[in-house]
């Protein structure tokens, strides 16, 4: 039977925990809003890119590019976009479960985020590179990742590049998803992130006839790397939005649980206190009766 002092001590420590988780929840929710805003800021770019892609792919006709070359699958690269920090619920473990499905001997991993890199070295798989990205991902960070995998692909070191990231559906639901990055099978419309539908809609065909300088093929060829960079940038944005909302929900649950425990403990504490008082009263009255 714990004494009232023990219970008081526990209540205090849980209150502290609740305070911390509450603060983390607030931070995560404000960061989540920021992540969503930066996804919105990319929307004009996405719209323009769709226009240009639609026009050039219509103008280029039968077109092939080294980035579109389909080779027999001998080795693949997996870009694993995880978080740097924990305390965000099942987000990372869901991602890592997907990551673990790939064949050990033929897969190299390219990690963005520390958790993924830790996982890869823990299970002793091949880590090709580790990248970092900030709380509000920069385009240059995405470009670095995208360039790296493009180079792996073009050098023939890998024949296939997949991306594992968390798709932000809404604040409560984030789904780990595997998407093919290379080779490019068909060019899909890019949807400016945090959309929910996960992109991949058809390109809108433009009705204007464009001239191309130097020619449509060359423009499309130079466009493809940019297209990939932008896709990776969007994956990063989705991943960040997911991370913050997952953390927010996890921290909210933690705060709620802590509050529940505090309530239960306070009840127990009060019961114990009353029992003690009653006991003391009984002792006094019996003592008096014995004296008298």
């Amino acid at each position: 039977m714990p004494s009232t002092r023990d219970i008081r001590r526990r209540i205090k420590s849980i209150k502290n925990t609740a305070q911390i988780t509450k603060a983390m929840q607030m931070v995560a929710s404000s960061k989540m809003r920021k992540a969503q805003l930066s996804a919105l800021a990319g929307r004009p770019y996405a719209a323009l890119m769709n226009d240009v892609l639609a026009a050039v792919s219509a103008g280029a006709g039968d077109f092939s590019h080294p980035l579109m070359e389909v080779r027999p699958l001998k080795k693949r690269a997996v870009v694993l976009i995880t978080t740097d920090k924990g305390l965000c619920g099942a987000l990372n473990s869901n991602l890592l479960r997907e990551a673990g499905r790939f064949d050990k001997d033929t897969t190299v991993y390219v990690c963005a985020g520390r958790k993924g890199a830790q996982f890869v070295s823990r299970v002793k798989r091949n880590l090709a590179a580790e990248f970092t990205y900030k709380d509000s991902p920069l385009f240059s960070e995405a470009r670095a990742i995208s360039r790296f995998v493009q180079k792996l692909f073009l050098d023939g070191e890998v024949d296939n590049v997949e991306v594992i990231y968390t798709n932000f559906i809404n604040t409560l639901i984030q789904k780990p998803e595997v998407r093919r990055l290379l080779p490019i099978r068909e060019i899909q419309a890019v949807e400016a992130g945090v959309s929910g539908e996960g992109g991949g809609t058809m390109l809108r065909k433009s009705d204007v006839e464009y001239l191309f300088e130097p020619d449509a093929g060359a423009v499309l060829g130079n466009m493809l790397p940019h297209y990939l960079n932008f896709l990776v940038y969007q994956f990063l944005l989705e991943a960040k939005a997911s991370e913050h909302s997952a953390r927010m929900v996890a921290m909210k649950n933690a705060t709620d649980n802590a509050k529940q425990i505090i309530k239960d403990l306070t009840l127990e504490y009060n019961k114990l206190r009353q029992a003690n008082i009653t006991k003391e009263l009984l002792e006094i009255t019996t003592a008096q009766m014995a004296m008298g």
């Binding site: 464009y210 300088e213 130079n222």
Partner: protein, 135 residues
């Protein structure tokens, strides 16, 4: 008189969106001046200076590599970087240039070299725009 809507967007933000009389762009085939009612055209932009003329005054922007879509009443540039000449911090750009040049002397892997070269091009474009418009 007809005007052109000049739009410059980067993945991070929409940098510029105004009605202008004329635009000058650095393109793969050389410098291009675009007036309203231009024939629809798509091409690549090189890092350098974009000049927009509006009501007799010139506005300058430094841009990175990218693409441009030109139609009769619109010039839309999408690029990695765009910055108005007023917003360019010369000291910062100069420092970035020096840093990039130093980095290029070191032994770099290809992808690092590529990103440093891009950074160098960005800072050079900024410096170029800033310095020229002071004179």
């Amino acid at each position: 008189m007809a005007t052109l809507r000049l739009e410059i967007v980067t993945p991070e933000a929409k940098i510029y969106s105004e009605d202008v009389d004329m635009v000058t762009l650095p393109c793969v085939e050389g410098e291009m001046g675009i007036y309203p009612m231009h024939v629809p055209l798509m091409t690549q932009v090189l890092s350098g200076e974009v000049t927009a003329r509006r009501g007799g005054a010139d506005y300058h922007l430094a841009v990175g590599e990218g693409f441009v879509e030109i139609s009769a009443d619109r010039v839309a540039i999408m690029t990695d970087m765009a910055i108005k000449s007023d917003d360019i911090d010369e000291a910062k750009a100069e420092e970035a240039r020096k840093r990039a040049e130093v980095r290029l002397q070191e032994k770099l892997s290809d992808e690092e070299a590529a990103s440093v070269t891009a950074a160098l091009a960005h800072s050079l474009a900024q410096l170029h725009v800033k310095r020229r418009n002071r004179r």
